[in-house]
């Protein structure tokens, strides 16, 4: 990247009046002359409803557009170009076939309200069936469009369940302190209160605290397992018993499903509902922030409440099940069928992995994580839970280094960029000071992990010898460290032409 020019003007700055990508403009409906063009007036749009001035969009050629956005792409780190050990995000290889075959023209051109496409729906039905088997659940809806919407669907179903039992006063959601921010935010969106409980020294839930927390107000507990601390919750069966006995349900946040794929199923652990991040475990792209897909699976208690539409099969015909088929559904969460194309990519990935491949995902994700954890501790870094196995990820804490060398986890993260590695997740979970949450995933080679260790070793040396190099990192990116405080104080959110 260093050999490239590291600045790219705004697309608006490339604009010149009268320029455009002419071959992309539609032909005039009646005849090819400018006179053939309908106007607001000829179309019968009343004057007071018309646009007076054209919007300020760029006027650029097709080549300028292609070059501008291609160059912008080169300013990004990505899985295709760099090791991306971002904890809790499962940045594994996104197979090209998933995109190629999801973009067949017949799939892309299908209007969502056109007669039900049997080929596409067969894929969606089989995807639901595979996800049921993997999670140990009895029903799956592919509708939620991201993890947070899957969480929303899960908690909304839990509320519907309690309401149907005339137990609507249950509005408290218990979450461990280390929970992802979407858990409490989702609880709030569903009109629930959040009660946080602590973890013990080993990273497991504090059982006594849980016993004290459950009550007649308990709607559910939301858990990730393996937890956001990167360890398998030992006492999960006991947790399930305590919550169920108190009349609450168990919600499984599938953020870390990659760690246990084919090894243990949330349904067998006692969970009543799960959301899966298909963009993590099933390798659909993250796309620079989305789209994801947050399919939900449910056990028998919540089956009537699944969000619609769901794909059903009658004899040999597939169709979308709607309000009429699922009258107790929590309803629709999207204008049509959720992120259908993302689901199709997950389906293709799962068929390519197959039965044997599912288990291997968990096995090699765990192998890579445990190997990397061991190598980094040998290099002098402190694991947050050294007495535990890593799941598919693990936490390094820089508490000691931050005191000794006055460098932060963020400094190490930024310096890693200079070594050509994307940074691990920083400062999450919040309760481990100065932490890096590292998730290598199963698709990385041993060589790549070794190079990452070499970089971390070199950074450790710099910490001791020239800590300023870390504090002022990165040094080789298109920009140096950015001023986030200024970004908030002097809000600049929209381009405006120079006066």
């Amino acid at each position: 990247m260093t050999e490239l020019k590291l600045r790219e003007p705004m697309i608006f700055e490339l604009s010149k009046p009268g320029r455009g990508a002419a071959s992309q403009f539609p032909p005039a409906p009646h005849g090819s002359t400018a006179a053939g063009w309908p106007t607001s007036a000829s179309l019968g749009i009343p004057a007071h409803l018309r646009r007076a001035r054209p919007p300020l969009l760029p006027e650029v050629s097709e080549l300028q557009t292609v070059r501008h956005f291609t160059r912008l792409s080169q300013f990004n780190f990505s899985i295709d170009t760099q090791f991306y050990p971002l904890g809790s995000c499962t940045m594994k290889y996104n197979p090209k076939a998933c995109n190629t075959y999801a973009m067949l023209p017949e799939f892309l051109s299908r209007h969502p309200l056109a007669p039900e496409p049997q080929g596409f729906l067969a894929c969606m039905y089989e995807l639901q069936e595979m996800l049921k088997d993997i999670t140990g659940m009895q029903g799956v809806s592919l509708t939620p469009m991201a993890g947070a919407q899957g969480e929303f669907a899960g908690v909304a179903m839990i509320r519907a369940y309690h309401r149907a039992r005339n137990d609507a006063a249950r509005r408290e959601i218990i979450v461990p302190q280390a929970a992802h921010g979407t858990n409490p935010a989702t609880a709030a969106m569903c009109g629930c209160n959040v009660k946080e409980i602590p973890c013990d020294r080993n990273g497991d839930i504090d059982i006594e605290a849980l016993k004290a927390a459950v009550s007649a107000d308990t709607a559910a507990i939301m858990l990730t397992n393996p937890s956001t601390l990167g360890v398998f919750e030992h006492k999960i069966t006991e947790v399930a018993r305590i919550v169920h006995e108190a009349g609450g349900l168990l919600y499984y946040d599938g953020a870390n499903l990659n760690a246990i794929l084919g090894k243990v199923r949330p349904g067998d652990m006692g969970f009543d509902v799960i959301h899966m991040n298909l963009h993590k475990t099933f390798s659909t792209p993250h796309g620079g922030g989305g789209p994801g897909s947050g399919a939900v699976g449910v056990g028998p208690r919540l089956l009537p409440y699944l969000p619609i539409p769901v794909v059903g099969k009658e004899e040999s015909r597939y169709r979308w099940l709607s309000e009429r088929d699922l009258p107790h559904s929590i309803g629709r969460l999207s204008g049509f069928m959720g992120n259908a194309g993302v689901n199709l990519r997950a389906y293709i990935y799962m068929r390519m992995l197959g039965r044997e491949g599912m288990v291997r995902v968990a096995e090699f994700a765990a192998l890579n994580a445990n190997y990397l954890m061991k190598r980094l501790t040998q290099a002098g870094y402190e694991a947050a839970y050294p007495m535990r196995r890593a799941s598919h990820e693990f936490i390094i804490t820089l508490k000691q280094e931050s005191r000794q060398y006055q460098v932060t986890a963020m400094d190490v993260a930024k310096r890693l960029l200079d070594f050509g590695f994307h940074a691990p997740t920083t400062y999450f979970p919040l309760l481990v000071p100065e932490c890096l949450l590292i998730e290598p995933t199963e698709t990385e080679t041993k060589e790549e992990l070794d190079q990452f260790c070499d970089a971390m070793t070199a950074i450790r040396r710099e910490m001791e010898q020239e800590p300023e190099k870390l504090r002022s990192a990165p040094h080789t990116m298109p920009v140096r460290r950015l001023d986030d405080v200024r970004a908030v104080k002097q809000l600049d959110l929209v381009w405006k032409p120079a006066a």
């Binding site: 300020l56 969009l57 088997d133 969460l333 460290r481």
Partner: protein, 466 residues
């Protein structure tokens, strides 16, 4: 092993470092009783060639019907550069741009996107996207409750000529937060929301009024008088708009203002799909949202700002994150985290290629094609236009018989003839919502008209014979 690069030798050496005898040992913290027996519901692995063949067969089974359905998702030409660039690995396989210095490409692109959305809508700030248009309206309603300090009611006026699915989604998402929706009827003759329907609510406490332009029937609402009524009654206006239509229509930022000189809707949202995103059986699409600067801290979703680096050079980063779930947790403006970033990438490339002139031509050609379609179809006996109101690129037709069998007969001829409205709007009778965009040529419209004439005639002949 599919997508796993380890050799047997790698495994041996890695286990040695770990100090474990086997990979199985790495799972020894999972209670034995919980461990899964082999998955039965997942078939054996397929190679890329095999899955390619299966998917191609299934795609061909679905075919490519000639499409005249709109109803919230619109078929437009997608320029080749859009997805050629959006599927580049650097965009496709990158994460959310939290590490700003290693994500300047995505961040600058989102800043440009925000600028374009503001240009189209006439608003001051835009977020980096929501999931889709329908869930975007739900977020807009929740945002209005936070933003409208003059209202305590949590009641929202929802006209029945707003896309009915949007109403269903808004209810499902806001249902546990005590938001009430008051349905307001449309005028049967004009197919739009009359001011008189709102005047019944004058002086009452409502949080917001939803106005869809063009409305679900494709008709143009009198947005100025609706906006002015709302603002005179301390009601915020949530505009739901089609981005392509904004090349021709007055942007929501200029609606109303005839009374107080302060024009503009308060929150603008909508479905971004028409901007270069394929129909693809319903998703992924993206929802856009824009507002005025005074409400920016109430807006859900990510926002990108321009700032400076250590050396004072301009750069981009996510900003105002104190609104979001990873900072504010249960007090966040929304639980949204992952959004529809790649769709925004496509839309930004699309808007750059088309520009104001190209978008205007797409909009005008679509409106003209719909006018042609309505003219061609209403020449058929038993088909009439439901409303005589200025419209954009959709129209409601009334048939002299139920629409469902007609649509089924058209489907058998490879034509998706429109959306049957009988379930959502029984009072309209046998109503059919149709749409033509710039992608429909004269021959396509003729093909539809001939097929419909045929179907109508055949049915009449059968009835005549009986």
């Amino acid at each position: 092993m599919p997508f796993i690069p380890h050799t047997a030798d790698d495994v041996t050496r890695m286990l040695e470092v770990i100090g474990a005898d086997s990979i199985d040992d790495l799972f020894d913290e999972i209670p034995a009783a919980l461990k899964t027996t082999p998955l039965k519901g997942v078939p054996p692995a397929m190679s890329e060639m095999q899955i390619g063949r299966l998917l191609t067969e299934r795609a061909l089974l679905d075919g490519r019907p000639l499409n005249f359905i709109g109803a919230g998702a619109y078929e437009h030409h997608i320029p080749a550069p859009v997805w050629a660039i959006a599927t580049r690995g650097e965009f496709y396989s990158a994460y959310t741009p939290y590490q700003a210095e290693a994500s300047q490409g995505t961040l600058q692109l989102i800043y440009e996107y925000q600028s374009m959305i503001c240009a189209l809508t006439g608003m001051e700030v835009s977020n980096a996207s929501l999931y889709d248009g329908a869930s975007g309206l739900a977020e807009g309603c929740l945002m209005a409750v936070r933003a409208n300090r003059a209202s305590n009611s949590r009641r929202i006026l929802l006209p029945r000529d707003v896309n009915p699915t949007y109403g269903q989604v808004a209810r499902a998402i806001t249902g546990n937060q005590n938001i009430e929706f008051e349905m307001v009827d449309f005028d049967r003759r004009t197919g739009r929301l009359p001011l008189s329907a709102l005047e019944a609510y004058s002086g009452q406490d409502f949080t917001a009024l939803v106005v869809q332009q063009p409305n679900f029937f494709g008709n143009l609402e009198e947005v100025d008088e609706l906006t002015d009524w709302a603002h005179a009654n301390n009601v915020l206006v949530i505009a739901v708009v089609n981005p392509i239509s904004l090349a021709l229509l007055k942007p929501p930022g200029e609606w109303g203002g005839r009374l107080d000189g302060k024009p503009g809707a308060d929150i603008v949202c909508g479905e971004g799909q028409p901007l270069g995103v394929p129909l693809a059986s319903g998703g992924p699409y993206f929802g856009f949202m824009a507002t005025r600067m005074q409400h920016v801290r109430q807006m859900p979703g990510r926002i990108v700002g321009r700032t400076a680096d250590l050396e004072g050079r301009p750069g981009f980063s996510l900003t105002l994150q104190a609104r979001e779930q990873h900072i504010r947790r249960s007090k966040a403006t929304s639980n949204i985290c992952t959004n529809q970033g790649l769709m925004v990438t496509a839309a930004t490339i699309y808007m750059s290629l088309l520009g104001a002139e190209g978008l205007k031509r797409v909009a005008a050609a679509s409106a003209e094609r719909t006018a042609d379609l309505v003219a061609a179809l209403t020449r058929i006996a038993g088909v009439a236009a439901a409303f005589d109101t200025p419209r954009f690129h959709e129209a409601v037709l009334l048939l002299d018989r139920p629409a469902a069998p007609v649509l089924a007969a058209l489907a058998a001829r490879g034509i998706s003839g429109g959306l049957d409205l009988c379930a959502s709007y029984p009072e309209l009778g046998n109503a059919l919502l149709v749409c033509a965009t710039e992608t429909k040529l004269e021959a396509d419209i003729e093909a539809y008209a001939n097929a419909l004439a045929d179907v109508m005639r055949a049915a009449r002949d059968v009835r005549g014979a009986a």
